[in-house]
Subunit: 288 residues, 4 copies
Amino acid sequence: MSIILGPNRYGKAETRLVRVVRDGATHHIKDLNVSTSLSGDMEAVHLTGDNAAVLPTDTQKNTVYALARKHGVDQIEDFAAVLAGHFTGSQPSIHHARVEIEEYAWDRVPVSPHSFVRAGGEVRTCVVHHDRDGRATVVSGLKDLVLLNTTGSEFHDFIVDEYTTLRPTTDRILATAVTARWRHRGDTPSYGTSYERVRRSLVEAFAGTYSLSLQQTLYAMGERVLATCPEICEVRLAMPNRHHFPVDLSPFGMDNDNEVFYAADRPYGLIEGSVLREDAPDAAFAWE
Amino acid sequence: MSIILGPNRYGKAETRLVRVVRDGATHHIKDLNVSTSLSGDMEAVHLTGDNAAVLPTDTQKNTVYALARKHGVDQIEDFAAVLAGHFTGSQPSIHHARVEIEEYAWDRVPVSPHSFVRAGGEVRTCVVHHDRDGRATVVSGLKDLVLLNTTGSEFHDFIVDEYTTLRPTTDRILATAVTARWRHRGDTPSYGTSYERVRRSLVEAFAGTYSLSLQQTLYAMGERVLATCPEICEVRLAMPNRHHFPVDLSPFGMDNDNEVFYAADRPYGLIEGSVLREDAPDAAFAWE
Amino acid sequence: MSIILGPNRYGKAETRLVRVVRDGATHHIKDLNVSTSLSGDMEAVHLTGDNAAVLPTDTQKNTVYALARKHGVDQIEDFAAVLAGHFTGSQPSIHHARVEIEEYAWDRVPVSPHSFVRAGGEVRTCVVHHDRDGRATVVSGLKDLVLLNTTGSEFHDFIVDEYTTLRPTTDRILATAVTARWRHRGDTPSYGTSYERVRRSLVEAFAGTYSLSLQQTLYAMGERVLATCPEICEVRLAMPNRHHFPVDLSPFGMDNDNEVFYAADRPYGLIEGSVLREDAPDAAFAWE
Amino acid sequence: MSIILGPNRYGKAETRLVRVVRDGATHHIKDLNVSTSLSGDMEAVHLTGDNAAVLPTDTQKNTVYALARKHGVDQIEDFAAVLAGHFTGSQPSIHHARVEIEEYAWDRVPVSPHSFVRAGGEVRTCVVHHDRDGRATVVSGLKDLVLLNTTGSEFHDFIVDEYTTLRPTTDRILATAVTARWRHRGDTPSYGTSYERVRRSLVEAFAGTYSLSLQQTLYAMGERVLATCPEICEVRLAMPNRHHFPVDLSPFGMDNDNEVFYAADRPYGLIEGSVLREDAPDAAFAWE
């Protein structure tokens, strides 16, 4: 019996970085959560504890702060690429770098040029990979985008088997918390512009699709992104069905014409799917 | 040795209610989390398990849904009063009702009259008490209002003892997640208008106060609410100091003029205080 | 209109302390989360930002670590008293100190004298107050003690009103996550011994009470603590009813004799109550 | 430009099932969280909303409860296989089923044959895949197994670059919250026995390895599992480094010989790796 080391990586997760730019009295902030992960020539450290090939995770954290100072932070995809390129270029033992960033949005408070209120709503995300052969992938995304239609959603003519009790419906609330990730085809000129366009496509396709199933809505959302964003070649969506059940008020002599709902926590439907261009380039390690 | 029953209450916590109003094609939603709690003549149930005085928590849940259907839901304070009044009026064994509501905000999606995106940001809250003698109190509030000033905050000339290592600073980030509750003096004509005014006062006082301590900022926020909102007689604030520490970049030959910060999780300062009118009426059970 | 400062306090929350004692090869650990909160002569800092009376929260954190080094940590109530006494004795502006501690339990790994596995289960807690006049209170407690009886629980003969749909039952699962706090009458010789006795009393009273309502079970638990622990004068309990609903399997031609349950999240019943000795001394600020 | 549907699946997540077996007065419980996910002939539902191939997620939930009643629940891997086999065998449109289960442990309360206390500690997990061609994979696992060594851990002789400030150490706390998953080679006779053996191997290898890096410890843990459990062919581990930093007490004139630590939350090191047999069979879809 021979035991071997399989795929592995290591890094510093959740380095919380707030970057301020002071433009006179007017300040700008970026609020990020950065996770770096490296892999490469790591047999020795696993088998014998020899750390000669290991760039400490503490150093990775320092690098996040130092490069934020040196290069500034604008779009998270660009900052992730700076970090990933730095790591793969810095040490021969590091063959591959993965950088994942979450960005939390803030709104300005009108009365002050240096005051902000956390925006809530969705979190913007990205995952950037670089390897030392110069291959790079960029996946952008968002999570916790919570959407709800109060009507325009049906669900019927599904399979009915011995364990089916669900009644068909021609009018229901459809609600979900979208996690979306989208792969860039190549060099995207502006990640900020692209993000706004993708987000708007997702929201508008959700709102504008008359839905016979959450799967149909999911596909329509992915398709809309690809139709409006030539820079994107693949979209992956995970959409929990946040069930809103009409409450049976008949015991109290009341009707309930889809006015009073119970918002359930668990269990929940979970729909996952990807939509892509037929000619999308190979994904390589983009989704890892 | 004689053992006795002390203060007690029971109820249904976290009944999740979504109320839709269908105004033709245009829909409106209210998204609430309702907790009811009753007390009164409850010796027997504790001592012997005799449930003759107990309105089941399941019934309390049903009542939330039924009264939402019957009366609709506009301002949460008004709906809480409907519920509290119902409970104290319905059973002789129920002497007191406490109703707590959280409201989650949604924004409209422009392209559709029945589509919404969860707003994130702060959660609006209220706690309403009624007793069967007709006494009533109303406390409104919010939580998770995250505010940050990138400058305009100092902290120095504090006590220095044998365990003090903190250096004084004349320029720091000040950030907090505000939990605020405010007590209404009497009948407030419009809880919606009042809420907007209080929230704006809190945000603007935070942004507009040149701060020498978070305590000073807290007091300024409470004072601003009382100065602008005659309907409020007391404000209670809990404000964690979400520390943002400048990263020491000098080992890398870099300065850091308050541009790169580490946002820390724990531990955190926690400042709690109340600001009130000298002639505020007795709070009775308002804060319980 | 005169606006004044009401009750206030400030401190450092959630200082995470792990204290190791090295007894040769055999090590011992204490894993704590310490929150300190001070109050006193704090008008100036709120009104003008004058920090002359303020012992920084950063210093409070340092003090936790320094006194853990100096005095060691055995029972959390004793360590909390050391901290509270230190703060009230150290500065004339500090009139009152509140120290809250959570303790996380670890089990030893048999094969090594310095290896541990986190125990899970309940968290031990305490809140200790000292004021500069020498008054002191000690409340011990626990949270997240999850208990379940698969039978021996009934619920019927409750009030039935127009909104009641619940059916009476003579056999149900009773489950809860206990939060308990208990007040010591005076000087308790051993907080460790006392804790074990209280915890056992709570668990055994829950398991041993044939229950007609969760209120009855709650009272029995408090009464058992007072009956077995002379050092305790009051017990406060908060017990969510973690509903387990039998699944209706009749559509599938199956019976369900309390064998298959759905464990619900929200809403949940919430029963809160206190049980005390008739001659319990005044609680002062113990529960704050 | 042609847009197509990529990989997709749908199901019911987090069906909370508590299964009681009544063996006279002695009761047994299983407390599970079951997530099912199906895939197959799902083009139509995505493209047109035609649900003819869709077994509703509500039916999947019902099936979990019905088969728990019919077959009972012993080892979670066996119950997952019952479910997965049911789904792939029931409908021609369902080509593949993935069943994920979490199990929460309970201990008996000594005084009663039907009373239990939630054990805390790690959660047992499994993921079972079946496809309609009869291929099946079984991955078992655990999460939230929190381990700590107070000594026997060094970290030095790592790469030092321009951003490195970490000092080498020859004695530190090593702590982690293990997420482990292990793949079964074929038919494992008893998943319960196997689980106990794997868990013990993980804990004992963590405790017994004198560690020069967390990677070394991770590999030793995986290797120990394979060495002691012939039924396992691959182990995947994710181990956050829960940093415990010695507090610098020198400003207070105190030394700190690894006695007083600050337990940090974020950022944290994250070490991920797999250890496998060289002759491990192809994993197919096991890890998805």
